[in-house]
């Protein structure tokens, strides 16, 4: 919420000319969600400090503008009024727009000159990433200093705060400093207080053309700047580097590592293969998620009917978009059914398929609900083939990002070892009259096996 810019050297009062703000006044500007105050805490020959202080209207953030019916963007209990975020960038252009453009009619030579400037930004969100500030600002020639507190001094066990107070100093033109801040502050914070449209790419590039292309962390900065708008980030990078655009789909999982992506691909391939080998022509995909498997199966001539179920209506709507359901050709469409269904409620619609796929789903069920799921699938729906995959917990030690004993996804209720999985498949075979073949998917660790385990159940008789 507070940005100070300190000019050290000779005749530093001239900062006032550069910023177009009189050092002896307190000036207030209206912003879209509140006000910005500009004042000078320090004015002297050797050192002059200007401060930009935001005064956001918390109630408008939470409830929308007075009189508007749209409602607010943020919760009442929110860090927005206190952090430095896109609101700050917004205020920079509004209050110091001329200085940012590098224009200074009174002191044109000063605007062109590198000065010893220090900027101090309060409460910048970095999510606890200790090197981010260094990575972003050091390559631009700044000396970087950060200060971090505990999240709550009364509860040290809660760990450190995700905010820093950042101080950067260096020999730099004022307009460059302002542009750096303009781009990088929102790259830290990630949340934006306005709807991000494609125009945002122009906005970013106009403030960063001269310096971002050579920045070693440019991709990270742009990705963070656009956060969940991956396609914009890619377009921005392409334009910045003047490369050919790559085609990118919008709804990639957030921050997929190369390895994860290919594991998912391998898993789907293995499942598809197993479906085809079973001879199935009708398949029900239980817990279809984004319908990646479903869409692969629709491509297969052998498969005449695919029903994709998920318990989440939102997920199904996303899947429909992903599959371009509205524009799907009639032949493909008549093979496909999408429906909301639950694995813990008996459902006659599950009956009559050759094969059921339960891909990375069982670990999302409460352990005590699994007996119900077993009966619903293996006793009542009872397809000839059931293909089920689930993580192999033993393999987790290969994931660097995963602390010991932690599961791969926060919604996983459990992950089975190979032994536990086999115990379960044996139980299914005995109780419901199936045989089961186990298969490993993904890179195989000699000691801990593969990341994914698959059981292909076939009904006896």
């Amino acid at each position: 919420m507070l940005l100070t810019i300190t000019y050290q050297g000779e005749h530093t009062q001239e900062l006032g000319y550069l910023l177009y703000k009189h050092p002896d006044k307190i000036q207030t500007f209206e912003l879209s969600y509140g006000k910005a105050h500009v004042f000078y805490p320090e004015v002297s020959e050797q050192k002059t400090m200007a401060a930009l202080l935001l005064d956001l209207n918390a109630i408008e953030l939470a409830r929308g503008k007075a009189g508007s019916k749209e409602g607010g963007l943020f919760d009442y209990v929110n860090d927005r009024p206190y952090v430095s975020s896109s609101f700050m960038s917004n205020a920079l252009t509004r209050v110091f727009g001329t200085a940012m453009s590098g224009r200074c009619d009174e002191r044109p030579e000063l605007a062109e000159k590198k000065l010893h400037l220090t900027a101090c930004i309060s409460a910048l969100y970095d999510g606890g990433n200790p090197s981010l500030a260094e990575e972003c600002f050091a390559p631009l020639g700044y000396e970087v200093h950060t200060e971090r507190n505990l999240l709550d001094p009364m509860f040290p066990e809660w760990g450190e705060s995700p905010y820093i107070n950042l101080t950067i100093s260096g020999e730099v033109r004022l307009s460059d400093l302002l542009n750096h801040l303009y781009v990088l502050i929102p790259a830290f914070d990630r949340q934006k207080h306005y709807y991000v449209s494609e125009d945002e790419i122009d906005k970013l590039l106009s403030h960063s053309e001269s310096w971002l292309a050579d920045h070693p962390a440019k991709e990270k900065i742009i990705h963070r700047y656009f956060y969940q708008r991956k396609s914009y980030a890619h377009k921005a990078i392409d334009r910045l580097l003047e490369t050919e655009p790559l085609s990118v789909t919008e709804s990639e999982e957030s921050e997929p590592t190369e390895q994860k992506k290919s594991l998912n691909q391998q898993r789907l391939e293995a499942v598809k293969q197993a479906v085809l080998e079973s001879g199935a022509s009708s398949v029900i995909d239980l817990g279809c998620g984004e319908c990646r498997l479903t869409s692969m199966l629709l491509d297969e001539k052998q498969i005449q009917k695919v029903t994709a179920c998920d318990v989440s209506v939102r997920e199904l709507e996303k899947a429909m978009q992903r599959l371009h359901y509205d524009r799907m050709p009639a032949y493909r469409k008549q093979k496909l059914t999408l429906m909301q269904a639950s694995l813990t409620y008996k459902d006659h619609r599950f009956s009559g398929y050759d094969c059921a796929c339960v891909i990375e789903v069982i670990e999302h069920l409460e352990p005590l609900r699994i007996p119900a799921f077993e009966r619903i699938l293996f006793e009542f729906a009872a397809p000839r083939t059931v293909i089920l995959t689930t993580p192999n917990r033993e393999y987790n030690c290969n994931y660097e990002f995963l602390p010991a004993e932690q599961l791969r996804h926060e919604d996983h209720r459990f992950e089975w070892t190979r032994n536990e999985f086999q115990t379960w498949t044996d139980h299914i075979c005995n109780a419901f009259g199936y045989t089961c073949e186990l298969q490993e998917i993904g890179e195989i660790d000699p000691q801990y096996g593969a990341p994914t385990q698959m059981g292909v159940f076939t009904k006896c008789g």
Partner: protein
């Protein structure tokens, strides 16, 4: 002419064009009962004479007819029906719906038809059409019976038509008018001694050689009178006498039909104990055997009794077959439904129709012998295998009690051990998705009709499936609670005066103010023994209780903690003789579980603490910068503004920290029960809150276990100023130091004014506490004035509906309702919770 047809049947009008079918149908049937092909032609094409659209019109007509029959409504098909192929559709539908098909034929002389045809203004058919119709009709008439019409009435003249009289007859199985109390008796299989013992135990006395009940109760025999046992003829004699004298009803069993076949001289295998019966019968006279055959022949497959509330059939009955008559229905009544496969004992594998039964009528049946009565979804299987050495059981209606006598011996070795639990037949209470999708209508005692929108049901389905505990435990979900009306006092958003005022206006004299503990809502269910968890709740995972959140999710991820807390609850209840004094072995409590930080870790770390972290560090810098500036320039207004913000954020941090402490051991938890919701046979929703508070103090929060806390409370008289002042002072005291506030409830748990259900509670939160809801700076006048514009209507209406559903769920559980009926109530609460309502209310 008297036209007798069953009150539920499918009637085909048959006749040429111009024969007056439509006017006949409209004259003798309700307009909604008659589905006319002309009408449906018009519906699909705007032209009732448009023959090109006949296919569409008939598709629609038969669709409507099918729905009517499914709903149990007599239906008349008003079309020519002159072709056999057309009539086949009628017959197929009747068969599918298990109703009788009737034909009413208008067979008028050709001359009349031609005359009428000419008189028509714009719809005169060519003469040959009429003639052709007449020929077709002549040819059809004699075949109708053979085609399958059970009732055929041919009206040959205008006079017949004018003087027709439609008489709607009841089906044989319809004994809805019988309201006598009934003792339904399971499969006897020749166990005469036990039958007599059971009748006597039930209070029947033998007078003039016939067993009868002094209070006019009737017996109802579920069939399978003979075979395997040692006194088959005696049983037959007793049953026949009781039935003939009107002291009993009887439905046939599969054994009885086989015996009948034998008696009629057909080839049957003398297996499954039939040989014994036959040996005994051979000692009897020819007349007696004929009498038995006559008796068995007249038995009706099932009975619908007591306004349709009770159904008896030997092997049970699907809902859609109740009150219908067809070969299929009769077969079901006799044999049940099997998959065609055999199990390891060579017995047919049965389909578990009872698991899917959703009817309101209680179905009592036998046929499958098991050690104990099997009750699921309003169905009771009372064949407890007397002949196999089990017992003979009677089901008393309307008491719904079972009374048994043990077998004197094992007369016949069971093929399958009686006490073997067939996996497929247990857990007949798996929930079925169809009941929870789409728009739902629920009925509760407190609010008769509650409607749930489809999208909310879909959201609830997701939450239930992904997060909820075993539905067997979910016999209650707590309702949401509305705050009191927004205060008109200048510096307050909420103030208790508004709550007192609300109840005062609604005529509630006394309210109880309970301290609102800032924790997390927790419902606790505890069974005194593991057996109770299994038998009463149907939970078979080895737990004997649960603590779950307001959305039905297990409170603790670690089962050990839950177990320790439940064991401690059991210890304190046992110590205080709760189980004996309340004559129960389970209890359901509504409580607040603390610390809040235990359940709210994510919220605290991701939202609450970061706001104060960011706020305190930013504001410290801002204030410092402004103070420096003050040396040169007058800026006191701005400085004060930011100092105020700094103070606000400090107060905010103080507010949430109140409710956080780190749990090192179970001793660090605090549980404050505030409602003693239910135990066996009782829901405490009519008791006063003082009763709840006192019982909780006496039996749970007696100070012997520091985990269980009392809830401080104060009774306020809403009509007395002094009392109100005391209430306000108490609230100020509670909230002055950051306490969450209090909950104000009417004296009695369920409060009404005339028929209006009142809010079961409203909350009134403290000034400081509300910073956690509305942000650190909410008390600034510019913010507060906007916050005061809030509407409570939606929240209040939800609170009432959820309250009604929660209480209904408890009542249903206590009354042993089927799981799906309990589940729909808690499902409803979750569905309402998915409605978008300002979460800060």
């Amino acid at each position: 002419m008297r036209i007798e047809i069953p009150e539920l049947s499918l009637i085909a009008m048959i006749g040429s064009t111009s024969s007056g079918k439509t006017s006949f149908a409209n004259r003798y049937f309700k307009p909604t009962e008659v589905l006319s092909s002309d009408f449906f032609r018009a519906m699909v094409s705007d032209d009732e004479n448009n023959l090109d659209c006949s296919q569409d019109a008939f598709d629609l007509l038969y669709h409507a007819a099918e729905i009517r029959l499914t709903n149990g409504k007599l239906t008349v098909i008003d079309a020519t029906n002159l072709q056999q192929s057309a009539r086949k559709k009628v017959l197929d539908l009747a068969k599918k719906q298990n109703v009788h098909a009737a034909a009413v034929v208008l067979n008028l002389p050709e001359s009349i038809l031609l005359e009428r045809n000419q008189a028509r203004e714009n719809r005169g058919y060519p003469e040959r059409v009429i003639k052709k119709h007449c020929q077709d009709l002549k040819r059809s008439i004699r075949n109708l019976k053979r085609e399958g019409f059970r009732f055929v009435y041919v009206l040959n003249s205008l006079d017949d038509i004018d003087h027709a009289e439609i008489i709607r007859t009841k089906l044989w199985n319809d004994r809805k008018d019988m309201h006598d109390p009934v003792d339904v008796i399971g499969d006897i299989h020749g166990c005469y001694d036990e039958l007599v013992m059971l009748l006597e135990k039930l209070g029947y006395q033998e007078i003039d050689g016939i067993y009868q009940h002094p209070a006019g109760r009737k017996a109802a025999f579920l069939g399978d009178f003979c075979d395997r046992g040692d006194q088959n003829v005696n049983v037959l004699k007793l049953v026949m006498k009781m039935v003939r004298s009107g002291n009993a009803l009887a439905v046939p069993g599969n054994h009885d039909m086989k015996l009948l076949k034998y008696l009629r001289g057909k080839q049957v295998q003398l297996t499954h104990g039939l040989d014994k019966t036959i040996a005994e019968l051979s000692q009897e006279s020819e007349d007696f055997r004929a009498e038995v055959a006559g008796f068995l022949d007249k038995l009706i497959s099932h009975y619908v009794l007591d306004d349709g509330k009770l159904v008896i059939a030997h092997a049970g009955l699907r809902e859609e077959y109740i009150g219908r008559g067809s070969g299929k229905v009769r077969d079901f009544c006799l044999y049940g439904e099997t998959t065609g496969e055999m199990d390891e004992y060579g017995l047919p594998v049965r389909l578990n129709w009872a698991a899917d039964y959703r009817g309101r009528a209680v179905v009592v049946y036998g046929h499958i012998s098991q050690k104990e009565v099997q009750a699921v979804n309003h169905t009771y299987c009372i064949d407890t295998g007397c002949v196999f050495g089990g017992k003979l059981t009677a089901f008393r209606w309307p008491e719904k009690e079972c009374i048994s006598v043990d077998a004197l011996k094992e007369y016949y070795a069971p093929v399958r051990p009686l006490d073997e639990k067939k996996e497929a037949e247990s857990m007949g209470d798996l929930l079925t998705i169809g009941e929870y999708q789409g728009k739902l209508y629920l009925h509760t005692d407190l609010i008769p009709g509650i409607q749930i929108q489809e999208n909310h049901a879909a959201a609830a389905l997701e939450i239930m499936s992904r997060f909820a505990a075993d539905p067997h435990w979910l016999i209650y979900l707590p309702p949401t609670m509305s705050p009191c009306r927004t205060s008109e006092l200048q510096d307050y958003l909420e103030h208790p005066l508004e709550a007192f005022e609300y109840y005062h206006k609604k005529g509630v004299e006394y309210v109880i103010c309970e301290k609102k503990h800032m924790g997390s809502r927790a419902v606790m269910i505890l069974c005194h023994t593991l057996a109770t968890a299994e038998n009463r709740f149907g939970v078979k995972d080895g737990t004997r209780g649960i603590i779950y959140t307001r959305t039905g999710r297990r409170f603790f991820d670690q089962p050990e903690i839950e177990k320790i807390l439940l064991d401690r609850l059991d210890a304190v209840l046992t110590r205080n003789h709760f189980w004996e004094e309340f004559n129960t072995d389970w209890i359901c409590l509504d409580a607040e579980l603390m610390p809040w930080s235990e359940k709210a870790q994510v919220l605290l770390k991701n939202q609450y603490a970061p706001v104060s972290a960011a706020g305190s560090q930013s504001l410290a810098m801002a204030v410092e910068a402004l103070q420096k500036t003050a040396d040169r320039i007058q800026n006191s207004e701005l400085l004060e503004r930011y100092q105020k913000k700094q103070q606000d954020i400090a107060n905010y941090a103080k507010a949430y920290r109140e409710y956080c402490w780190t749990v090192h051991s179970p001793d660090d938890f605090r549980i404050a029960p505030f409602h003693l919701l239910a135990c066996e046979d009782q829901v405490f929703s009519e008791q006063s809150h003082i009763w709840h508070m006192e019982n909780i103090r006496n039996y749970i929060a007696d100070g012997s276990d520091l985990v269980f806390m009392e809830t401080p409370y104060l009774v306020v008289n809403t009509q007395e100023k002094d009392s109100i002042q005391k209430g306000v002072a108490w609230w100020e005291d509670l909230t002055g130091t950051g306490g969450e506030g209090m909950v104000i409830k009417p004296e009695y748990f369920t409060a009404k004014r005339q028929s209006e259900l009142l809010q079961p509670a409203v909350k009134c939160r403290g000034r400081e506490y509300l910073r956690m809801i509305y942000g650190a700076e909410y008390l600034s006048p510019e913010y507060l004035s906007r916050l005061k514009q809030r509407s409570l209507n939606r929240k209040r209406s939800l609170a009432l509906k959820e309250f009604a559903l929660g209480i209904e769920a408890l009542h249903r559980f206590v009354k042993h309702a089927p799981l799906y009926q309990i589940h729909e109530c808690v499902f409803g609460v979750l569905a309402f919770e998915s409605e978008p309502v300002d979460p800060r209310l």
